[in-house]
């Protein structure tokens, strides 16, 4: 094998992480970490008292939503990749919006699981809501190279629907330097008077952190970007991938999980 053909870790990881409903990132001290994209285990609450104020009265806060173009109306999640053939997958999990006039083999889905949200109908309805929101079909095809079994594939498909059926709320704040304790990847609750109760009820992930040192001039502060995770909530926010289609099974649970915000991915 030529040296240049050895895959890079990041090229492999991005599949596995994404297939596991995780995100990988670099921590402030250079170590690498993983976090799941569910809304569990918020590590704290950011509230009005943590915000900087303009003119001593206006909190530095703004809200927005992720691009509506990210909303999807159908999902095709291909798994059991056939190696060494490229772009070939033995299986596909799919789900169409509830009012989609088209079917695949006479069905709008091949979901089989049932969670606390219900069966496939719940997720199909979310896709229908997405269609009504954007007004056009926007299918998403995912090649899940790291998934071999049907249940894992369906769980990932459900997660993606929850993340993509509507735009996600985003909040940007300027916070006192006491909030330096937070870093990207942290999941937090918020309690701001200046935003709606609905947004306050969400769980957010810190997706941006900008520390402004103000060396020698003023107190430092931190700009924090929060992205909603509330819509990306799986009813069972535990292990996404619980078995291998190859027949291999997990032999041990991982130890040494450094914090509740990290989830097992295998």
């Amino acid at each position: 094998m030529a040296y240049s053909s050895i895959p890079k870790l990041k090229d492999v990881l991005k599949y596995y992480l994404f297939n596991g409903g995780c995100i990988g990132f670099e921590k402030y001290d250079g170590t690498l970490a993983l976090a799941t994209l569910d809304n569990s285990a918020a590590v704290g609450t950011i509230s009005d008292s943590d915000l900087l104020l303009d003119d001593n009265k206006y909190p530095r806060i703004s809200t927005s939503f992720t691009d509506i173009k990210n909303c999807i109306t159908r999902i095709d999640l291909r798994y059991q990749r056939i190696v060494p053939l490229s772009d070939r997958y033995a299986q596909t999990k799919f789900c169409r919006r509830s009012n989609d006039p088209l079917t695949d083999g006479g069905s709008k889905h091949n979901f089989t699981l049932s969670d606390t949200n219900g069966g496939w109908q719940f997720y199909s309805e979310l896709l229908e809501q997405s269609y009504n929101r954007i007004g056009y079909e926007n299918p998403l095809t995912i090649d899940a190279d790291g998934i071999r079994d049907a249940d894992t594939a369906e769980k990932l498909a459900r997660l993606l629907i929850l993340m993509r059926y509507k735009p996600l709320a985003q909040i940007s704040i300027d916070a006192k330097y006491t909030m330096l304790a937070y870093e990207i990847g942290d999941k937090v609750n918020v309690n701001f008077d200046s935003i709606s109760a609905a947004l306050n009820a969400k769980v957010y992930m810190i997706t941006g952190s900008r520390i402004v040192p103000n060396v020698g001039t003023d107190e430092p502060f931190i700009k924090i970007a929060l992205t909603e995770l509330g819509a990306a909530s799986l009813p069972e926010s535990t292990i996404l991938q619980d078995s291998y289609g190859t027949g291999d099974t997990l032999v041990d649970s991982l130890n040494g999980v450094a914090g509740t915000e990290y989830k097992e991915i295998i």
Partner: protein, 646 residues
């Protein structure tokens, strides 16, 4: 959430002074040579607290940059925003951390090249001071990517360690402390949680996560989490042991669940991959080793090496059928006994042999010159001229024998089977007479014969154990050839001084060697009052007295090095005279006359027999050992001449 920042503390101190410190550290392989810069404040370390913004950098190349630190107090001009972001919608790894800082360099005293490529930390302090050495205020860790000369400033850009993702699959990362070398290249280093916490593996990679076993023998932990390897020299294979059962007797290798039984008998090694190899006997062959003789149940045999941890214990083949056994720290007393004393010698690691562990923990048992049965029949003599003034009372003349037994224990564990010495003493004098002026008085009676026997032990460290000894002075004690015959002879012989048998229990808390290093045998001499008339001078001159001292057992155990010697350092025969009061100031002398000194002395022989340990087979004395014995003999100090002059 950052673990280095305490939100509660920050909240309390909000509004207080804040300080920034940029710390630049050298790289391990850095070839940068220090440049002495002017206008700097220096400090020995970074552990000081500072109440100002600054830059710290090593003045000397150092592994961790904590020594010889130079501090820049007023040159930190600014720190750029420290920016991090991730995109949870994308399946790409988009996270990046970047920042930078600038220093005042109006006098161009700083060469920007010297900092590029170095590890960089930006720390944040609050309250009254900041402590740059602690991790309570770490904000950013990365490397300096570039430098740029600006208007009276020098600016540096920094990046995090995001490049860790950009490695080939299977490459071990430098901070993968939890991944054993054995996995490098075989395991996809995906980590659950913080990267450095655990090794894991990706779906579809059929590998077993590295286990953290506790290796135990009996109820004693040998080492927690150590790797255990089994080597098959014939196949040139190394097996990593994956599992050890509860009592540590059975280990499984990763290859195909092969079983290696490591029995508590210690001297037995069984391996299904190389047949059963039973240690049938063992023997001492040198100061620093024990050899095991292996009998093989099946052919071909491939002697194995077992290594526990990197420095704990191993069994390795020195030659076909011969094993060296090293038992190291962590084995309890019983196990060491079972496994043959705990003679730790050398360690074989994957990188080769090394002899370091024994120096730290276990020293081999050394019975210098006496590892085998030594039966010595030698003679000694002590002759002296004497005459003296006899006063009323207890003039005493002493004949001393200083004798070095040559027993030296060096080790953490000693189980000594026993030893005895028999000294046969024959007091010789051509004639003794006492006279007052020219009035010879023959037969002025001696009163005492005193013998002093002491053992000298040097206990260099904490120890505990038991020493059992006996001693006595006997009349016409037959020459004994074993400790059992000695005891029998003692029982049947006339006791001049009663036999003692004493058990001395000592421990590091209760036994303190005396200042003279006496092992426990009383320094005060045993004495025999001869006023009963049982022995007269004539008797003394005609009878053979024997001194017997025996050590029936000696055990001590301590993880630390111990060394002590047992020396019978002095045997004294004191002949005391008592004269009538009217004969005070008379003279006594030998028969040769009043002007010539008389000759008197002791002759005798010594039998020394030492049993290293009852469980060890003995062999014939080798030439080397013979030389050693001869050397020992040359060190003997025979009876000291006694002169009693006017």
């Amino acid at each position: 959430m950052r673990t280095d920042l305490k939100a509660g503390t920050l909240a309390v101190l909000s509004g207080g002074a804040v300080y920034w410190m940029v710390i630049i550290r050298p790289n391990a392989s850095d070839d940068w040579e220090p440049i002495i810069m002017g206008n700097l404040q220096s400090a020995a370390t970074l552990s000081y607290s500072y109440t100002w913004n600054g830059v710290a950098y090593p003045a000397m190349k150092d592994a961790n940059g904590t020594s010889d630190c130079m501090l820049w107090r007023n040159k930190l001009a600014s720190i750029e925003d420290i920016d991090q972001s991730i995109n949870i919608i994308s399946d790409q790894l988009t996270n990046n951390i970047a920042t930078g800082f600038s220093i005042i360099n109006a006098d161009d005293s700083v060469d920007g090249d010297m900092f590029v490529g170095r590890a960089c930390e930006i720390r944040f302090g609050f309250g009254s001071t900041m402590n740059a050495a602690t991790a309570t205020d770490l904000i950013f860790t990365g490397k300096i990517k570039s430098s740029k000369i600006g208007d009276n400033k020098l600016s540096f850009t920094c990046a995090g360690n995001f490049g860790a993702w950009d490695v080939d699959v299977g490459e071990k990362l430098t901070d993968e402390s939890g991944v054993d070398d054995n996995w490098v290249g075989k395991i996809l280093p995906i980590v659950n949680g913080v990267w450095t916490d655990e090794a894991a593996y990706a779906p579809g990679v059929n590998a077993i996560k590295k286990q953290a076993h506790t290796i135990r023998f009996g109820s004693t932990d040998v080492v927690a989490g150590a790797a255990l390897y089994v080597y098959d020299k014939t196949l040139n294979r190394k097996f990593a042991v994956q599992q050890i059962d509860a009592d540590g007797n059975v280990m499984y290798t990763q290859a195909n669940n092969e079983t290696i039984a490591f029995k508590d008998s210690g001297a037995i090694l069984e391996s299904s991959m190389s047949g059963n190899e039973n240690v049938s006997s063992l023997k001492t062959t040198g100061i620093y080793s024990l050899d095991y003789t292996i009998s093989n149940d099946s052919e071909p045999s491939s002697p194995s090496i077992i290594m526990i941890g990197s420095e704990q214990m191993l069994i390795t083949d020195v030659d076909y059928g011969t094993f060296e056994v090293f038992v190291c720290r962590g084995w309890n007393d019983t196990k060491i006994t079972n496994h043959g004393y705990g003679e730790a010698i050398k360690i074989i690691t994957e990188k080769g042999e090394k002899s370091y562990i024994c120096e730290d923990y276990f020293y081999p048992v050394t019975v210098a010159g006496s590892r085998k049965v030594i039966l010595l029949n030698t003679s000694f003599s002590a002759n002296g001229n004497f005459r003296g003034i006899v006063s009323e009372g207890q003039n005493a003349e002493t004949f001393d024998i200083s004798y070095k037994s040559g027993i030296s224990f060096l080790g953490s564990y000693v189980s000594f089977g026993g030893a005895y010495w028999q000294f046969d003493l024959l007091f010789q004098a051509p004639g003794i007479e006492c006279f007052v002026e020219n009035d010879p008085i023959v037969g002025i009676f001696q009163k005492y014969i005193t013998m002093q026997i002491s053992g000298v032990g040097t206990l260099t460290n904490k120890t505990s154990g038991t020493l059992t000894y006996f001693r006595g002075v006997y009349e016409n004690l037959p020459l004994s050839t074993s400790i059992s015959t000695l005891i029998a002879n003692c029982n049947s012989s006339q006791k001049i001084i009663s036999t003692e048998q004493t058990d001395l229990a000592f421990s590091d808390s209760t036994y303190v060697p005396s200042s003279s290093g006496n092992l426990g045998i009383p320094a005060a001499p045993l004495s025999l009052d001869l006023t009963s008339g049982r022995i007269t001078l004539a008797d003394l001159l005609s009878k053979r007295l024997s001194v017997a001292i025996g050590i029936t057992s000696l055990n001590y155990f301590n993880l630390e090095q111990n060394k002590f010697d047992i020396d019978i350092n002095k045997i004294s025969l004191k002949v005391r005279f008592k004269v009538p009061s009217d004969k005070v100031n008379s003279y006594w002398r030998g028969t040769a006359g009043d002007s010539a000194d008389s000759q008197a002395g002791l002759v005798g022989s010594i039998v020394q027999e030492i049993f290293p340990y009852a469980g060890l087979a003995t062999t014939a004395i080798t030439d080397d050992e013979r030389d050693e014995i001869n050397t020992l003999r040359s060190d003997w100090k025979l009876a000291t001449l006694v002169y009693c002059g006017e």
